[in-house]
């Protein structure tokens, strides 16, 4: 398979987890593209405008500077989430979704109109920390493993259980002494940090960056990752992100019909698998396969 497509699939999986994290507390936010755009724009600006980072004339870029950008992109997106989350997380359900769509629009219009972000053309010639697309596989995979590991640990941590409690019944969770605002905000910030870091990676990988990278359309696609994959485990959005990113490319031979087919998959997914592809039941069966003693309640087989 084309390494460039693989990197795109991994980016899709990362963004899927970013949408999943707030959803794991029962909050439907579509803000991921905004944080993705913030991370990407930051990386594009820093690497092309800030000589200290060491972009060379041949278009290469030092790896430590790339890692620094990853950290900065994640931190900036996280900070923005902290500020915005305090306000928008007071909303619930569809109102929260609409408020986060507004955030995506605000970020998009800001990037389009700021004097230093290159307008509609955007920023191009972003230097490359890796000589080829295949080089991006490693950081993308590392980021995915890191995100997956954190999600997996959450399952046995107090925070993860609090997130599940808020998702199940926020009022009962509050009566158990859980600061549900704090829990929701934490998930929102984690989601933003991941999207911001992914944006940094994507900016270098794509070589150009503009305001179209974080749009409402992409929010809908990212939500489809979670809906098709399933929202009860972080493996769901990963699977959804991988499949739905690969599909339009794999369907390229059928020409214009590919968009129709893509639409059909998105439509039929929830109809055939209402809980998504990765369901608690599936995980339990997988857990039993991996653990011959079949200890229910053990780490891997948690429903």
């Amino acid at each position: 398979m084309d390494p460039a497509l693989l990197v795109q699939m991994l980016i899709g999986a990362l963004l899927g987890i970013s949408v999943y994290l707030p959803l794991a507390t029962g909050q439907l936010t579509l803000a991921t593209p905004a944080f993705y755009a913030v991370g990407g724009t930051l990386a594009a600006l820093l690497s092309t405008r800030w000589p200290v980072l060491g972009a060379r004339i041949d278009g290469s870029f030092p790896l430590p500077s790339f890692l620094l950008e990853l950290a900065l992109g994640g931190a900036l997106a996280g900070l923005l989430a902290l500020l915005v989350g305090r306000i928008v997380l007071r909303l619930q359900g569809i109102y929260l979704a609409i408020a986060t769509i507004a955030l995506v629009e605000i970020v998009r219009v800001a990037i389009l109109n700021l004097p230093f972000t290159g307008g509609a053309v955007g920023i191009f010639g972003i230097p490359q920390p890796f000589p080829s697309a295949a080089g991006y596989l490693l950081p993308a995979l590392a980021l995915l493993l890191l995100a997956g590991w954190v999600c997996q640990r959450l399952e046995v941590m107090a925070l993860g259980r609090a997130m599940a409690a808020v998702r199940e019944d926020e009022l009962a969770a509050r009566c158990m002494g859980i600061d549900t605002t704090q829990v929701k905000l934490t998930a929102f910030v984690m989601s933003a940090v991941l999207a911001g870091g992914t944006g940094v990676l994507a900016a270098h990988f794509l070589n150009t960056w503009n305001a179209r990278q974080g749009s409402f359309d992409s929010a809908v696609i990212m939500l489809a990752f979670v809906i098709l994959g399933g929202s009860r485990s972080w493996l769901g959005p990963v699977l959804g992100g991988l499949v739905l990113t690969a599909l339009p490319e794999l369907l390229r031979p059928v020409g214009d019909a590919r968009l129709v087919l893509f639409g059909l998959v998105i439509l039929s997914g929830p109809a055939l698998f209402p809980q998504g592809l990765v369901t608690p039941g599936l995980l339990e069966r997988l857990g039993r396969l991996g653990d011959p003693a079949g200890r229910p309640g053990a780490e891997g087989s948690r429903p």
């Binding site: 609090a162 599940a164 009566c175 309640g297 429903p303």
Partner: protein
Amino acid sequence: MTVDPRLAPTGGSAASPLLELDALSCRFGGLVALDQVSFAVQQGEIFGLIGPNGAGKTTLFNLISGLTPASGGQVRWRGEPIGGLGPERINRLGIARTFQNLRLFDSLTLRENVLVGLHRETRAPLVEALSGNAGFRARQAALERRAGELLALFGLDARADDSAANLSYGDRRRLEIARALATGPALLLLDEPAAGMNPAEKDELCALIDRLREQFQLTVLIIEHHVPLMMRLCDRLAVLNFGRRIALGSPEHVRHDPAVIEAYLGGQASAAGERR
């Protein structure tokens, strides 16, 4: 870990009751759900709240636990006003509750439901939790044991790894009490804990509540429709009718209060009762 706020000294004097309601009122638009209700619950007692449907019992619980703001009056906890605090703050002060219309975390297992209640003790340092090192695992094992013990009190330990959604109605009620107890309360608010249980189960629950009071040094405020059970279980009772407290005192006193008899049986029947 910070100092448990329940162990920290409070401003109230030693003589002040654990929970004190002072002319508590609650209006929803034109409807007066609670009208100047006052009573005090002493440390260690089982205090019953009875009254016909719609008398305002659950509203009173919602006010105490911080879910509904009061329209007037004050709730005092160990002498300190707690009106206006959110439910999470109130729980941390040591007041836990169950719900009349059960609010379990259905997709979690029984054990996880109780672990959510134990969440203040489950806070491990982040590095420890992420790495899952020996310290974290030991802490985790201790917590799971605690959760198991709490479930065992209610005879639910054998099903600890079942999903809460699969429980029978009576067991769901028991799990809610276990989960509330896990938050380490000094005062437990039970909203119709025996609803949907058969008479034998009701007796069992009655004995269990009494035992829990001993074991956890609990004070219990309980709403229940089954009057004979309440007469047996409670040290004192308050009777609500149309949002007003119409009687207060020992079961014996409340049983013979004419206002109570009238509220429950109507004016005609109360006359008949006197003839008997």
